[in-house]
Amino acid sequence: MRSFINSSVFALVLFVGAAAQAQTPPVPPVPKVPPVPRTVRVAPTAPAFPGQRTDTELRVAAEQNVNLKFCISEGELKVNGWDRNEVRILVRSGRKFGIRVLERAPRSGNATWIWATPTAIEGQTAAQRGECLSGDSVEMDVPHGATLNFHGRSATTSVDSVRKVSLKIVEGNISLRNITGGISASALQGDLIVTNSSGSLSLDSTTGNIIVYGLEPIESSDLLKVKTNSGSIMLQRVGHRQIEANSITGSLQFEGGFLAGGIYNFKTSNGTLRMLVPENGNCTVSAAYGFGSFNAAIPVETITENITPGGKNVVAKIGTGEACNVTLTTSSGRIQIVRLEP
């Protein structure tokens, strides 16, 4: 009995100790930082202003190398180069606009930097006014040496005979001709056609086709970069020595000669790579393809060939193969080298 009492007292002491330990305040939880609400940036639809659809024409004296920037929300845009030292802008059935001269030439006083933007109307806020031209059609005449820098929402665009163009259009076809100083064009939805132009070119379309015809580099290092997600690419008579062309699900066709010192890189995921080249060329072709095929209709000399299931690699020479390098890559598409008729 005495030992039981002793043991009970000992148990009670341990119990009191355990209870004191259990009432120790717990570690406070670390406060969770509330997530910063994401800024939703949604482009509003083009505001309509009843009663404002008028024809507006403005002119301003400008240098040959004038730089013109603007934005167009909707309409058909035509830009033409002319010989005058003048910029003329005509908006048919659209919003009124103004021409802001941001910079002038010190000697002549002509504009060297112009911004075309809608004019303020009483009662409108800046957000309502916006920065984009709008109308049924927008026509511009600019000096040949002009540089255009614009972006737009929904516009069918045609630019002819200017020096340099940089544009981004959400929706609408783009046609660029006689651009002498280089192009940077991006069309999210719409075809992109570039003809008879020169300089370094970067052409990008998300869902449209890209057609390029008659390009020449200004310098030998000028790059031609063409990319589309689901459209097709056609390159015809291109004089650039550095070409990167990539279509993810579309086909790609190159027509013309491979130039000495050239580096050509063509890729497609499951489209066809079709090279129409003269058989008297002089280039090394490296073709890598997964589940597709490789077919050469002109005389080529196979240097190495590694054919394994799912991954094939063929290196072949056209002529001596010393002048240039062509890399062709496709996952499940076909690679064809076809003879180009002279």
Partner: protein, 297 residues
Amino acid sequence: MSRNCIDIGTLQAFLDGETKGEETILISNHISDCDTCALMLAEAEEEMSFVMATVESDVNMLVPTQRLWSRINDAIETERAHVPLWHRIYVGFTSMLASPSLATAAAVLVLFGFFAFIFLPGGGLDGTTSDIAAVPQPAATVSAEPMPTVRNAPPVNTEVAAAQPEALPVRTEQPKASPARATHAAYRPDNVARPPAGNFRPVNALYVPGEDSYLNTIETLKASYDSQKDRVLSPSSRVSFERDLAVVENSIKQMREVVRKNPNNQAARQVLYSSYQDKIDLLNSVGQKEELLASLQ
């Protein structure tokens, strides 16, 4: 026979080896000088050998001699010297529990401790679980450094795949019914987007050099795309985009299979990297479109 002849009992003990050291020497010296005792010893040996030949096994097993007892005692002492301390404590504790009163007291103590752990505030299971789950210990991230593509590269390092943190089933909330799992709880910050179901990387997947960097980039862009697609892409654009994405993912899947089977297939690797780049370009185009739309405000 001399007067100092040894009695038969002592001789028998001498034969059995039960005499001590000095006694054994004295007996041996006496037997060497006394023919009578030597004769008695010889007769005793003869009798003993006859008896032992008959009942040898029974005698050896059932009638331990003095020497055997001493050996047993020595062995016991040796064993006691090598018994660990915890074993002695355990033996002592179990012997204490043999007492009914001590056993009852121990049972009461265990019951008190159990109920205190369950019902006292701050000491129960809930508090323990939530505290452990809320401690902001970042989940272990072990990622392989992107390796440059090298021709004739060695076979794929399987340790890279095994170290993918996303492959681990991370749980931030532990069920109350299984508090033991709280020790394995990992913390994932709220601002880290959890990849959707089905996009976890396989645990035993083999990654070719450089593939992991592609996957990380794609994962980031995918999270961005998921948050943008509804407001950036129109229905028709989205259909087209999803179709392109499916084509690219199919290419990646096919080429990964090929590369897994033959890691030295350079062509398959090249196509695989190209497909990954296509997917990155695709996902990136959505972000570019959102930027363009925002600039048109």
